[in-house]
């Protein structure tokens, strides 16, 4: 099991000019990232959609690397996104899944069959170009450069220590960083798109 924040710190030097869809990792990524115009922090528009959203971005920007920090709860809601992504085979897509084995923002209840799912095997079986699974930081550290250089879609399952939130939504600390609207506007400006 790894700490989410430490994974992101290991990843950060290898980011290059990739666009990062930070998902539930934004609570740490916002403090680590040094290229915020290429960060897309959307909060949680609707659970289950992050992977297919990032696919859309990867298809629209085939010459830019797209990195998604997904969660296993989100992925379980729409496992079919894996076959959808593999069908398109975006070479520019790196799909991390931060697997804390639970719904961390609702009190830590386990996701279905939390401890017994090999998400990397499922991704590979769906047709991803390559897939990996890490349970310790040292192994990830050794391989992250190669992962970021590979042709995608690349899937990386990471076992992480849960960070449980148990306060009612209205009592939680406000989200870090920009609003989702500002995040979208800044990225579109950075990409020079005005469709």
């Amino acid at each position: 099991m790894m700490k989410m924040e430490e994974i992101l710190k290991v990843f950060a030097p290898h980011r290059g000019d990739a666009i990062v869809v930070s998902g539930r990792a934004n609570r740490h990524w916002d403090k680590i990232s040094t290229n915020k115009n290429r960060d897309l922090s959307l909060g949680d528009p609707a659970m289950g959609g992050h992977a297919s959203f990032a696919l859309g971005l990867a298809l629209a920007q085939p010459n830019k690397k797209i990195v998604l920090f997904d969660s296993e709860g989100d992925l379980q809601m729409s496992m079919g996104a894996l076959s959808m992504i593999a069908d398109q085979m975006p070479k520019n897509f790196v799909h991390f899944v931060l697997d804390n084995e639970c719904y961390g923002t609702t009190g830590g209840q386990p996701v279905p069959n939390a401890k017994n799912i090999a998400y990397d095997v499922i991704a590979k079986g769906c047709g991803y170009a390559s897939s990996y699974a890490y349970t310790n930081l040292e192994s990830f550290q050794v391989n992250v450069k190669r992962i970021m250089e590979e042709n995608g879609p690349v899937f990386v399952a990471m076992k992480i220590i849960p960070e449980i939130e148990n306060l009612p939504i209205g009592q939680r600390a406000p989200r870090l960083g920009k609003t989702k609207e500002q995040s979208v506007a800044d990225l579109r400006k950075e990409l020079g798109v005005n469709n």
Partner: protein
């Protein structure tokens, strides 16, 4: 290709292409199969098949934010499955996208035998989604109205395709 009282897939595609669509995010249904054949042969359009309709909305949001111009092509059954995704990924992110929705069960005479048709318009009304019914080729300009409205209001707008392209509803 058009004949009075039927909906030509060539005309539907031409209407969509007027608005510069780049990607069709879709799940097949009987209403759209003939259109699929045409789209597949068109080198200017990328087809993105989805395994469940809710994923079409999140994917379309990513496409739009990245600078592409997606259209969503699904059946009314799948539209109803997609409620939260439509809310969060398109309405919540101000995504202008047209939903071409196969109106399964629609009958012009209004006697429904299929609850998919019964709940389609109440569903769209519940989400405050503007929609236009297209039954034949003469209705096709409404597709352009939907594109213009989506772009203006930065919201999804639906086109209900109330006819299979071969006109089985009559």
């Amino acid at each position: 290709m058009t004949t009075e009282g039927s909906l030509s897939p060539e005309i539907v595609l031409a209407e969509m292409k007027k608005h510069g669509i780049t990607h069709v995010v879709w799940l097949p249904d009987s209403e759209t199969n003939w259109l699929y054949t045409l789209m597949k042969a068109d080198p200017t359009i990328t087809l993105v098949p989805v395994p469940r309709e809710g994923l079409a909305f999140s994917c379309a949001a990513g496409l739009y934010i990245g600078g592409a111009k997606p259209v969503i092509l699904i059946q009314n059954t799948g539209l109803m499955e997609s409620g939260d995704s439509m809310r969060g990924w398109t309405m919540g992110l101000n995504i202008p996208v047209v939903l071409m929705v196969g109106y399964r069960g629609y009958t012009r005479h209004g006697v429904n035998r299929d609850t998919a048709a019964t709940y389609t318009e109440p569903f769209l009304n519940a989400f405050h989604i503007q929609y236009y019914l297209v039954e034949n080729s003469e209705d096709a300009p409404r597709i352009s109205v939907a594109f213009e409205e989506a772009q203006k209001n930065k919201r999804p707008v639906a086109v209900l395709v109330g006819d299979e392209y071969h006109g089985f509803n009559r």
